[in-house]
């Protein structure tokens, strides 16, 4: 009579199903209820009344990518730290606290090195390139 461990996943699937159903339900409700008089002017992208120039899918500044890059490295490191953190207390109770602390701290120190490097090189500054060019001019 004990439910299996996979039952814990059922609410996740049900909630995802409810979300999808709610989306399409709302969509069809608005198809039924809402007026639909499309016109070219109405479906122009909003640019405060001006005619849009070109497409919005254009090149963006590389610093968005640099932020994403720093994020993904930290994300992966925190993922690896999670199981170690979860058994940290257990190891400490087993009398291996010092060992676990050394493992943990040496891992984190590399993480700190990464953030220190990015800080030093100015990857964490949003307006760095602007300041550099400003200094040159003066």
């Amino acid at each position: 009579m004990t439910p299996t461990s996979f039952d814990g996943l059922m609410p996740v699937v049900i909630f995802m199903g409810i979300a999808v159903a709610l989306f399409w339900g709302g969509h069809f409700a608005s198809v039924l209820l809402a007026p639909s008089k499309p016109s070219h002017l109405k479906s122009t992208p909003y640019e405060c009344g001006e005619q849009p120039v070109g497409s919005a899918w254009s090149m963006f500044n590389v610093r968005f990518y640099v932020v994403g890059l720093i994020f993904i490295i930290f994300d992966v490191e925190s993922v690896l730290m999670f199981p170690v953190a979860a058994i940290f207390r257990e190891l400490n109770d087993m009398g291996q606290g010092a060992y676990a602390l050394i493992i943990f701290l040496s891992f984190i120190s590399v993480l700190i090195e990464g953030i220190a490097y990015c800080w030093k090189k100015g990857d964490l500054d949003w307006v760095k390139s602007f300041q550099v060019s400003h200094k040159k001019r003066s």
Partner: protein
């Protein structure tokens, strides 16, 4: 029962979105279908009882790699308000033509034929073991493995990530013109 349903859902999502990744001509859509494939694989991990790996899959891939890829597609999409036909709009020459697809399809078919033969013999020679549905928590055991058996790989992976961060930051950093 629920396990089978979950397996079928995940497998359909994985394979369907995987095929869509291969066929669609729009790079942005391709990335989004890859997202579906990765979520499907996370579901497959969950049916294998690998809860921690499943969540790691979602965390790293969905939260990280796919967003990074979307950023990269945006950054290589166009310049000065002109979208490059190559990436974002319409049919792209760099997304393959019928000759490359025919060639790769041939390679794929040959690969599948050889491997299915191999796989069947592997599967028939495996000892059929009783699988219990009551799984213990994988988190604690993975933690113990990481700090005992695989402690070198654990520490080295942080160094690898540091190297990746430094290298990629040097490559991608905005240059002074």
């Amino acid at each position: 029962m629920f396990l089978q349903v979950l397996f079928l859902l995940s497998a359909t999502l994985t394979i369907g979105c995987g095929i869509a990744v291969a066929v669609t001509r729009n790079l942005m859509h391709s990335c989004v279908f890859l997202l579906g494939t990765l979520i499907g694989i996370a579901g497959l991990y969950a049916t294998l009882g690998a809860d921690f790996v499943a969540v790691t899959q979602i965390m790293v891939y969905v939260g990280g790699i796919v967003i990074l890829m979307l950023f990269a597609v945006m950054l290589t999409g166009g310049k000065d308000f002109v979208s490059r036909a190559q990436n974002l709009l319409g049919l792209a020459p760099s997304m393959g033509n019928k000759w490359t697809f025919a060639l790769s399809g041939l390679v794929g078919v040959v690969f599948i034929l050889t491997n299915v033969k191999l796989l069947m013999s592997v599967a028939s020679s495996l000892p059929t073991k009783e699988i219990n549905n009551e799984l213990p928590s994988t988190v604690n055991e993975i933690g113990h493995l990481l700090v005992k058996d695989h402690v070198l790989a654990f520490e080295l992976s942080s160094v690898l990530l540091l190297g990746a961060l430094v290298g990629a930051a040097i490559i991608a950093r905005p240059r002074k013109q």
